[in-house]
């Protein structure tokens, strides 16, 4: 399969695909702008500046922001964390943290300036005219109050329903957002809901007062792609039906392109670019938007990536073309997993009831060739993390065997196990919680060296500095503590720590999932560079298919503990064999946008 024609087809088919799949939103956008008039404007932000009081004086989080949201329109604010996008939204709702305030400018909601109205009036508007769908479904519901009661309370306090008939309405609302068996569900507590169900409940809550303006702050960023799609469909369906104006806050460009009429790009408190979604994302004007676009995890295959970086000639190189082809049988296999299952026992409910088995991983086999990257993808609960933990020898397989470089994992004595730890290292998802907050960066990286008796203090220092250099951390940063670092820097520390003992296999469990796109791209580049220089083998565990396409050679798709599809990245992505893989691929927001590049 040659690259040139393929690229061409992509380019040619891109436009029609784009138009057809988002036809509705494009059409409604055109419609809106046609009949755009003053009375249709729900929200107009004028020269808005938001300041936060800090110990070092006022810090400006949003400066001179201007934007307009019309009835029935969705406006997306895109930017990385710290860009001021959430601050702007919270200023609109009057929910800034206590040290934040509107310093200048106006927030016109219909004919009231929300920056000037009394707190009482603001409280009146919230829940009736203004709604919020918050970011994290895990922390935004009161854990000790029934879901239904949390929605009832809003209806009652806003005078929309009486105490007696609030519940009937609540059930209607929950039903409307696609929560099955809403009446019974309303009497349950948040911990009895899955993440997706909680998010549905939060959407019901945000729309309960039939607001004119709904602020949706990263409404699905904490969810799996398939769940994300369903919920976004529900949200846009409802807001379209009700004519609600939506201010959508997101860091996900694909999502913005797919769901919004207008895109507003924010960078360090400034709005750097805004315009119709398609125009901003396909022909970005501002440097930052271009950077954001370049960093967005691409669905285009790695070859296209390389073509973009180095020009077409390189791509035609046979070696690169061979990359991603089926590996031959005689390839040097570093890790071999044979028919491995893991059964966890769950305690029964009654006093003396028996425990039952839960099969997390069910007869999985895979080979990881030395120097390659194998990705395991799947939704949460698919067993991918359990598989990784077994390869890391943290969990023991119930049946089956795992061999590493010819030796059976977990079979040897204590000394063998320690030796194994040296050869296989993990990088975990959350750089915030996987580093000891009381250890300096230096100490965090040095720790494995100490634990495995690596040289003397001077040798260790030299090694830590070498590692810091490899992951592009400065010497000054070595004396800092995790709390003083950004998410990307922390993940660099975690990678340096993993590399300290020169492992052969690095297991990355959702290693870049918590990061912004720009930082994500930097970390992926770093990992790719390290692989090239150090000959590392990677096992990537992720739910993010776009990341897989960027970095992996082979991919395994897991569902409910089983491998449902396996192959080279190109073959799986270009011609998915199972419906499940197709659903996963379809669920990625902004797929058509990527093709348009």
């Amino acid at each position: 399969m040659s690259d040139n024609p393929e690229k061409k087809t992509v380019k040619e088919t891109a436009e029609p695909t784009t138009a057809s799949s988002t036809g509705t939103s494009a059409a409604s956008s055109a419609e809106n702008s046609a009949e755009s008039s003053a009375e249709n404007v729900v929200l107009r932000v004028e020269n808005l500046c938001v300041d936060f009081r800090t110990e070092n004086g006022a810090a400006r989080a949003v400066s001179n922001a201007n934007l307009t949201v019309e009835r029935g329109q969705t406006v997306a604010i895109v930017g990385e964390s710290g860009s001021g996008k959430t601050t702007l939204a919270m200023a609109v709702l009057g929910l800034l943290a206590s040290n934040g305030s509107v310093a200048e400018g106006h927030i016109w909601f219909k004919d009231e300036d929300l920056g000037k109205v009394s707190p009482q009036r603001m409280a009146q508007l919230r829940g009736t005219e203004l709604g919020l769908v918050p970011q994290d479904p895990m922390t935004n519901l009161d854990p000790i109050m029934q879901i239904g009661r949390q929605i009832d309370a809003g209806l009652i306090d806003n005078g929309l329903r009486t105490r007696r008939d609030a519940r009937t309405r609540t059930v209607e609302l929950l039903d409307e957002v696609g929560l099955p068996d809403a009446r019974a569900r309303a009497a349950q507590y948040p911990h009895e809901f899955s993440g997706g169900m909680r998010q549905r409940a939060l959407i019901a809550m945000g729309l309960s007062g039939r607001p004119a303006l709904l602020v949706a702050d990263e409404p699905t960023s904490a969810l799996d792609v398939t769940v994300q799609r369903g919920i976004l469909d529900q949200l846009s369906g409802l807001t379209q039906e009700l004519g609600t104006a939506v201010l959508l806050i997101t860091h996900d460009l694909g999502l913005a392109a797919e769901r919004a009429d207008t895109v507003v790009v924010m960078y360090r408190g400034d709005i750097v670019e805004q315009g119709p979604a398609r125009q901003v994302l396909t022909a970005p004007q501002h440097e930052y938007t271009k950077r954001l676009m370049a960093a967005a995890p691409s669905l285009a295959s790695r070859r296209i990536e390389i073509a973009r970086e180095r020009g077409l000639d390189e791509v035609l190189d046979d070696a690169l073309l061979a990359h991603g082809e089926e590996t031959t049988a005689e390839a040097d296999v570093l890790v071999s997993v044979k028919d491995v299952s893991k059964v966890f026992s769950i305690r029964g409910k009654g006093l003396f009831s028996r425990s039952t088995g839960f099969t997390a991983v069910d007869g999985v086999s895979l080979d990881i060739p030395r120097g390659s990257t194998v990705a395991v993808v799947g939704e949460s609960g698919s067993g991918k993390s359990t598989l990784a933990r077994m390869i890391l020898d943290i969990e023991k397989p119930t049946t089956g065997s795992i061999t590493f470089d010819g030796g059976v994992v977990g079979a040897g004595n204590h000394r063998d196990q320690i030796a194994y730890r040296r050869r296989v290292q993990p990088v975990f998802q959350d750089p915030y919680s996987s580093l000891d907050p009381l250890y300096s960066v230096f100490r965090a990286i040095e720790e494995p060296l100490r634990a495995h008796d690596y040289g003397d203090a001077a040798a260790r220092r030299a090694r830590v500095e070498e590692l810091a250099d490899q992951v592009a951390l400065s010497k000054g940063q070595l004396q800092r503590f995790p709390a003083e670092l950004s998410g990307g820097q922390r993940q660099r520390v975690a990678i340096a720590r993993a590399l300290a003992l020169s492992p052969e296999l690095v297991v990355c469990d959702e290693a870049v999932s918590a990061l912004d796109v720009v930082v994500q791209a930097q970390i992926l580049q770093l990992l790719a560079g390290l692989q090239e220089n150090l000959g590392l083998t990677y096992l990537f565990i992720t739910h993010d298919l776009a990341v897989v396409r960027q970095i992996a050679d082979r991919v395994l798709v897991m569902q409910e503990g089983r491998v449902v599809e396996e192959g080279t990245v190109d073959s799986v992505f270009d011609s998915p064999a199972t419906a499940y893989t197709r659903a996963l691929l379809d669920a990625i927001p902004g797929k058509d946008l990527e093709l348009a590049l």
Partner: protein, 335 residues
């Protein structure tokens, strides 16, 4: 829920067995052993041998322990050397006094501690906040016996507002069907007796409640500070919840989870007997009696009371654990 209770009660068995072995061994490891302690200055080898035979102390240790355990199971905790009355009876007559004192101390600690901590957190950085911190710091650092003396000196001796010692004035004639003096007064409609008993509880209650007050106030402050900034509180504001409901249903109720844990631990401690406070106020609860029995080498009382206090402590903690489930639905399922 039932499963939890049964599990915890079953766990109590090995706990008490272990404790009984410790107590049994402890008495036998004492210098001279219990016989010498019992005889004191009247000790002669002949008298000792006689008592040893009488008490079965000449038998092998496992046999002795077996017999001791058998007696315990029959509710026989031995006889007090001081009073000659059964240990269990001594405990049962004094325990109501300790419970009364605990209740007053808790009412004081919770009644002031929670509002103080709540206001301190809501007005973080204000004068109320700073004074709450100072008050709770004093509360934990001032020794209880010192505070008890000061309170007694100022409010009982100098001002004469409260009685100085005991559970009831000597001149008060009252009947005691339950040994809870305040309750007795109410049950028998002897209002003046109830009032008199209550007044006797105030000063020791305050002295005893100071440390729990400080701990509860600090815990409440920390918990409310955290909860009021929680995402779900902001979400509740976003859906237009009335401030009163926000405070009572979202903030206070969630903040109470760690506070209840703290209070539970304090109840256990308070019920175990307040030796110092009871001694200063000559209050006849289990604490002062236990302290006296230590001074007089009354080993059966020490053994028996420690065992009984352990049972009480374990049961109180069980009740506290069960009550978490009432506040926190997440624990109901685990339980």
């Amino acid at each position: 829920m039932l499963r939890l209770i049964v599990q915890r009660l079953l766990l109590l068995i090995p706990l008490l067995l272990g404790l009984s072995i410790l107590l049994f061994g402890w008495v036998r490891a004492l210098p001279g052993g219990p016989v010498q302690a019992m005889l004191g200055e009247r000790y002669t080898p002949e008298a000792a041998a006689e008592i040893e035979a009488e008490m079965g102390l000449d038998q092998p240790l496992p046999v002795q322990y077996g017999k001791y355990l058998l007696r315990l199971l029959q509710g026989d905790f031995g006889t007090s050397l001081q009073s000659g009355r059964p240990v269990l009876e001594e405990f049962i007559t004094r325990f109501p006094a300790t419970i009364e004192l605990t209740v007053v101390a808790l009412v004081f600690a919770i009644g002031i501690g929670i509002p103080l901590g709540y206001v301190a957190a809501r007005r973080s950085g204000s004068i109320i906040d700073h004074s709450a911190v100072v008050v709770s710091l004093i509360g934990v650092t001032v020794p209880v016996f010192f505070l008890a003396f000061i309170l007694k000196y100022i409010f009982a001796v100098e001002l004469g507002w409260f009685p100085t010692t005991g559970r009831q004035s000597a001149t008060m004639i009252a009947t005691h069907p339950t040994n809870f003096y305040v309750l007795d007064g109410l049950l028998t409609a002897e209002w003046d007796a109830a009032w008199d008993a209550l007044m006797h509880l105030i000063l020791p209650g305050i002295a005893l409640g100071t440390i729990p007050l400080a701990i509860v106030a600090r815990m409440t402050r920390a918990a409310v500070s955290e909860v009021q900034n929680a995402d779900y509180v902001r979400t509740a504001r976003a859906k237009g919840i009335k401030p009163a409901r926000l405070r009572s249903e979202h903030i206070l109720k969630n903040a109470m989870l760690p506070v209840v844990t703290t209070i539970g631990l304090q109840v256990g401690l308070l019920l175990s007997g307040a030796v110092l406070t009871e001694t200063v106020f000559a209050f006849s609860g289990i604490g002062s009696f236990l302290a006296n029995s230590v001074f007089r080498a009354d080993y059966p009382v020490m053994q028996g009371f420690i065992l009984l206090i352990a049972v009480v402590y374990a049961l109180v903690n069980l009740i506290v654990d069960v009550s978490y489930g009432l506040i926190d639905p997440r624990l109901r399922r685990q339980q």
